[in-house]
C-alpha cells in the first residue's frame, strides 16, 4: 500500500514538473517567433504527422534497426573479448590497454575516420556505432566475470564440470546482471551516437531528418523527431527493466 502511494506520488511529481515546463513553453511561444519556440498544438500536430505517416515513420524504424544491429554486433564482439579475458588470463594484458585507448576516442573522431575509410553510408554508421559501444559491453561483462565468487567456482569445480558446463551453469548466470546493465547503458548511448552518425551523408533515419529540420528552420519537426527517439528509448528501457525483473527474480526485493 505504502509502495503504491509512493509510486503515485512519484508520478504526481513528474506530472507537475512536466506541466510547469509545458506551461512555460506555451507562454514563451506567444512572445517569441514560432520558428524559435512553436506553440504546443503545432508540436502535437507535427508529432502526430510523423507518427501516422509510414513515409516518415520509416525513418524511425531505420534508425532503430541500425541501433539494434550495431548493438547486437557490439554485444557479440564484446562478449567474446570478455570471455577470452576471463578464461585466458594473459589475454587481459593485451586487450585491456587497447580497450581503454579505444574508449578514449571521441565519437566525432570515429565519424571522421568512418567517412575517410568507408564509402558506403551503412558501413560508416555501423562502424561508428560498434566502435563506440563494444568497449562498454566488454568491460561490463569482464567486470561481471571477475566478480564471480571463488567460493562458488570451487563448489562447482568439486563436481568436475567441463568448461562448457562451467560457463553455462556458473559464468553465464553470474554475469546476467552485468549484461543487463551494459544493454541499459548502451541503448541510450547508441541512439545518441546514431544521430551523430546519421548526420554525415545518410539520406534516411532520424539523424537525417533532424539535419533536414535544421536546414529548413523547422523547429516543430526537430522536436517531433527528438520525441520519437525519446519514445523509442523509453520503450527499450521499459522492456529491459521487465526482462531484468524476470531474470533477476531470485534476488531479494529491496523494497
Amino acid at each position: 500500500m505504502l509502495e503504491r502511494l509512493k509510486k503515485i506520488q512519484l508520478k504526481k511529481g513528474g506530472f507537475i514538473s512536466f506541466g510547469i515546463i509545458l506551461i512555460a513553453w506555451e507562454t514563451s511561444s506567444h512572445f517569441v517567433p514560432p520558428y524559435l519556440i512553436p506553440d504546443l498544438s503545432t508540436l502535437l500536430d507535427k508529432f502526430l504527422e510523423v507518427l501516422t505517416s509510414w513515409k516518415l515513420m520509416r525513418h524511425v524504424f531505420i534508425t532503430v534497426l541500425r541501433v539494434i544491429i550495431a548493438l547486437t554486433i557490439s554485444f557479440v564482439f564484446g562478449a567474446t573479448l570478455s570471455i577470452l579475458m576471463g578464461f585466458v588470463r594473459k589475454s587481459e594484458d593485451y586487450i585491456l590497454p587497447v580497450l581503454h585507448f579505444v574508449m578514449g576516442v571521441p565519437a566525432l573522431s570515429w565519424v571522421v575516420m568512418a567517412i575517410i575509410w568507408f564509402p558506403n553510408i551503412e558501413s560508416r554508421i555501423l562502424f561508428i556505432l560498434v566502435a563506440c559501444c563494444f568497449p562498454n559491453y566488454t568491460l561490463e561483462m569482464y567486470d561481471g566475470i571477475k566478480g564471480i565468487q571463488k567460493d562458488l567456482m570451487d563448489m562447482l569445480q568439486s563436481f568436475r564440470p567441463t568448461r562448457l558446463q562451467l560457463f553455462s551453469k556458473l559464468i553465464l548466470p553470474s554475469i546476467v546482471p552485468a549484461i543487463l546493465t551494459s544493454w541499459k547503458i548502451n541503448v541510450g548511448y547508441a541512439t545518441r551516437v546514431a544521430m551523430v552518425a546519421e548526420l554525415v551523408g545518410a539520406t534516411t533515419g532520424v539523424g537525417f531528418q533532424l539535419l533536414s529540420s535544421q536546414e529548413m528552420f523547422d523547429m516543430p519537426g526537430a522536436i517531433a523527431w527528438t520525441l520519437m527517439l525519446i519514445v523509442f528509448l523509453l520503450i527499450s528501457q521499459f522492456s529491459l527493466e521487465k526482462a531484468e525483473r524476470y531474470l533477476l527474480r531470485y534476488r531479494p526485493s529491496t523494497n
Binding site: 562458488l152 570451487d154 569445480q157 568439486s158 551453469k169 534476488r251
Partner: protein
C-alpha cells in the same frame, strides 16, 4: 589389512607472495584414511585446514609430496573423481539464481542424468534433510541452517564414495549446528561413507569421528590417533583438554 582409500604422503604446500616471498601453508603433512572411516581434522584457525581440504578435493595441487585417493592423484586425475568425492563447505555456496531443488541437482546435471531421475534423487535427499515444501524457494528465502541443509543434500545427491566436510557447521548457531551435526552423523552411519571432516571444534570432532588428526602450523600432523570410547563425561572432558593442549602448544 584395511584398504587405505586416502593416502597423504609428506605434503608440502607453498604459496608465492609477491616475487620473492613464499608462504608455507603445509609442510610434512601425512596421514591415511581407511574405507568407511570417519576422520576429523582439527587445528587452529589459519593452520591450513582448508588448503588441505582443497588439495584433497583436487582443486589445488600440492607443491611437494603426494595425495592419492583410490590410488590416483585428485588434482591430476581430476575428472576421474566426478561423483566419487562429495564436498560440504563452510558456507552453503548455493547458486542464488537456483531454487533449493535446482541447487541440489547440480552435481547430477553435470553427469547428464535424465531430469526425472536426478530430481527424484535430489527430492529424496531434500526431504530426508527436512526440506519438504522448500524445494522451489530461492536461497535468499531460506535460513542459514536450511541453506546448509541444501548444501548437504547437494553433496549426498551424487552418492560419493568419499565425503569431505570443511567446517560444515561452524558458522551456524549452536542449536542449528547441533541439529545438523546429528543429521550428518545419522547419514554417514546409514550410508557408510568414508568421511573426512575438517573442524576447529574439538567436541564436534570427538562426537563425529572414529579418528582424530591434530594439525600444527604450518599444516602438519601433530597427533593422529583413534578416538577412544568414553565411559563418562569426565573422561570425555579430559580427552578434550588433552587435544586442546596439543593444539594450543603446537606439539604433543
Amino acid at each position: 589389512m584395511e584398504k587405505k582409500i586416502i593416502v597423504v604422503d609428506n605434503v608440502k604446500k607453498i604459496y608465492k607472495i609477491g616475487r620473492k616471498q613464499d608462504f608455507v601453508v603445509a609442510d610434512g603433512l601425512s596421514f591415511q584414511v581407511s574405507k568407511g572411516e570417519v576422520v576429523c581434522i582439527v587445528g587452529k584457525t589459519g593452520c591450513g585446514k582448508s588448503t588441505c581440504f582443497n588439495m584433497l578435493l583436487g582443486i589445488e595441487p600440492t607443491t611437494e609430496g603426494t595425495i592419492r585417493i583410490e590410488g590416483r592423484d585428485p588434482y591430476k586425475d581430476f575428472n576421474y573423481f566426478q561423483t566419487k568425492i562429495g564436498a560440504i563447505f563452510q558456507t552453503d555456496r548455493l547458486l542464488p539464481w537456483r531454487s533449493s531443488l535446482e541447487n541440489a541437482v547440480i552435481g547430477l546435471e553435470l553427469v547428464e542424468k535424465s531430469k526425472e531421475a536426478r530430481e527424484e534423487i535430489a527430492l529424496k535427499w531434500l526431504h530426508r534433510l527436512g526440506l519438504e515444501g522448500f524445494e522451489e524457494v530461492y536461497p535468499y528465502q531460506l535460513s542459514g541452517g536450511m541453506r546448509q541443509r541444501v548444501g548437504m543434500a547437494r553433496a549426498f545427491t551424487v552418492n560419493p564414495d568419499i565425503l569431505l566436510a570443511d567446517e560444515a557447521f561452524g558458522h551456524l548457531d549452536q542449536v542449528t549446528s547441533n541439529q545438523l551435526r546429528e543429521i550428518f552423523l545419522e547419514l554417514i552411519k546409514e550410508t557408510g561413507k568414508t568421511c573426512l571432516v575438517v573442524t576447529h571444534d574439538i567436541r564436534e570432532a570427538i562426537e563425529i569421528g572414529n579418528r582424530i588428526i591434530v594439525l600444527g602450523k604450518p599444516c602438519r600432523n601433530l597427533l593422529d590417533e583413534k578416538i577412544p570410547e568414553f565411559s563418562s563425561e569426565k573422561e570425555k572432558g579430559e580427552y578434550e583438554e588433552r587435544i586442546f593442549s596439543v593444539i594450543d602448544r603446537g606439539e604433543v
